[in-house]
């Protein structure tokens, strides 16, 4: 059994009534979570051995299903309700999943869809032997136009959990409340879910489906000791002028990851919470959520120098720079993509390595990330390959060429994505967006689509993206 399940059971045994997960008015205690997930896990072993799709948003049934899959030794694949049906089907095809454990009704032809309570129907089957060592698979944007599965092993996950518990400000807390903002299909959630459940803390989720409920966000933050969020979400929190240490005295640590942390946001946060520990973490999905972090100090905010993203000596993996690119090596690095080749993964000195595609450098024992080698962007914490959007548009009848360009704020944060489609005049921007919504999650659908008779080209015959950037501003 995984060590993290033993920790979960220990909490359930010692303090069964302690809340493990809270969302809205619903609470699941450690006692309930362990007994239900154990039962579900035993039934899942009878259903099969393939990965299990866990579908929903922040319902308690989602967390229960995740833990049940760990008990069953079956990989779980979290899929949020914001993922359109066509993409869900693609994920099911790629994973070979035979079962969707759904917290919400969803229609998926060809597979069994059940709520965790419905697993009872497998009680008369024999448990199946299972040598699976994959804990979960998260699907990220793929440049070829198809979402890319990243299988994270139990060993990867345990290494991450071990490392995260050593982080400053997180390592000494007892029975804390941890605020979860990220959806469970976004691997930032791995940082809060496992920190909370393996440390005997309470995970308090903010529902981010549909329009945001600000009252709920700040209600959850008010009772939280630790908050895990994207820098974009932090900026939203800071628009609340009363978000300060007087009104939120419990909040002692904010852990941000997923995209660059803008200095003004960090500065404002530390001015309002002078004693707060702001952890800036870094890491790709391919190396289990995060591999390094650093506490941001007031000294780091004084000049115009960029913010570090992690301390090299305290990282979960070895980190080095090769030809300007950040390379990760060690136990947090996953074995490779699902059904995808690629030279991003390699073995050196007997250890798994991953070329992140991030440009970076090290200085005074810290890692700094300065950009990307390719067309990948971070938008509200989500990783997006612009090529995936372009390829999705190219599949639409009438679209001959497509270029997607991000618009960035002065601090480098991506604020919007615009698609330029070379297409017949009869094709409207609306029609392109409607079609893209059927295949892409909402955060990937360009907010603006412009139809052009032809895309501008450079002297070398390539799409002139700089010209398109200029056109975004007109």
């Amino acid at each position: 059994m995984m060590k993290l399940l033993l920790k979960l059971e220990q909490t359930a045994l010692q303090t069964p009534d302690r809340p493990a997960y809270i969302v809205g008015t619903q609470t699941v205690t450690y006692g309930e979570l362990v007994s239900l997930a154990k039962r579900d896990g035993a039934l899942l072993r009878r259903e099969g051995t393939s990965p299990v799709i866990v579908y929903g948003h922040k319902e308690p049934a989602v967390v229960r299903a995740i833990v049940a899959c760990l008990y069953a030794g079956r990989a779980y694949v979290p899929v949020d309700v914001c993922v359109p049906a066509e993409r869900l089907q693609n994920i099911i095809r790629q994973t070979g999943a035979s079962l969707v454990l759904a917290a919400r009704p969803v229609c998926v032809p060809g597979v069994t869809v059940l709520s965790p309570d419905g697993l009872e129907c497998f009680s008369d089957r024999e448990p199946q032997p299972n040598g699976n060592r994959i804990a979960y698979m998260i699907f990220t944007s793929g440049s070829t136009g198809v979402p890319k599965g990243v299988p994270v092993s139990c060993e990867n996950l345990e290494n991450f959990v071990r490392w995260e518990q050593t982080l400053p400000c997180l390592n000494g807390l007892q029975a804390a409340t941890v605020c979860n903002q990220a959806r469970f299909h976004f691997d930032l959630s791995v940082a809060d879910l496992y920190y909370a459940l393996c440390g005997g803390h309470t995970l308090a989720a903010v529902r981010t489906e549909n329009s945001l409920d600000f009252a709920e966000i700040f209600r959850v933050l008010k009772k939280s000791d630790v908050a895990v969020m994207t820098p974009t979400f932090l900026r939203l929190c800071l628009t609340e002028r009363d978000f300060n240490t007087e009104n939120y005295p419990k909040l002692s640590c904010v852990y941000v990851c997923g995209e660059p942390l803008p200095k003004p946001a960090a500065k404002t946060l530390l001015e309002r919470f002078p004693r707060l520990c702001l952890l800036n973490a870094y890491g790709p999905t391919e190396a289990t959520s995060a591999v390094c972090a650093v506490r941001i100090t007031k000294e780091m905010l004084r000049d115009d120098a960029p913010l570090p993203v992690g301390e090299l000596s305290a990282a979960a993996t070895e980190i080095f720079i090769e030809n300007g690119e950040v390379i990760l090596k060690g136990k947090s690095v996953c074995g490779g993509y699902l059904h995808a080749d690629g030279d991003a993964f390699f073995v050196r000195d007997g250890e798994q390595c991953y070329r992140t595609g991030d440009l970076g450098y090290t200085q005074n024992g810290m890692l700094y990330v300065s950009g990307r080698r390719d067309g990948q962007i971070k938008y509200m914490g989500y990783r997006i390959e612009l090529g995936e959007i372009e390829n999705a548009a190219l599949r639409l009848p009438g679209v001959r060429a497509c270029a997607v360009v991000p618009q960035t704020a002065p601090d480098g944060t991506v604020r919007a994505i615009t698609a330029f489609a070379e297409a017949d005049a009869f094709l409207s921007p609306d029609a392109v967006q409607t079609a893209l919504r059927r295949t892409l999650p909402s955060y990937m659908v360009p907010k603006t689509v412009r139809i052009l008779p032809s895309l501008p080209v450079t002297a070398n015959g390539k799409t002139d993206r700089k010209e398109l950037q200029k056109q975004c501003r007109t």
Partner: protein, 77 residues
Amino acid sequence: MPDVKTILFEICADERVYSDDADLFETGLLDSFAFIELFGRLEDEGVLLQPTRINRELLRTPAGITRLVRDAVMFSA
């Protein structure tokens, strides 16, 4: 004062935002991603809306958001 409807159009990419009374919640135009973008864009324009102090119902329509922004600009002036 920033042009709220232009910002909404850039975020939602839907001409319905030019209608004062369009229900942005009911139509799904202002989902959680769009919400975060709206607050970020307004912050870029120097307008800070206090999430917990605003009447949530005013966020439902372009006219309501325009009113919130106008009040915020007047308050900060």
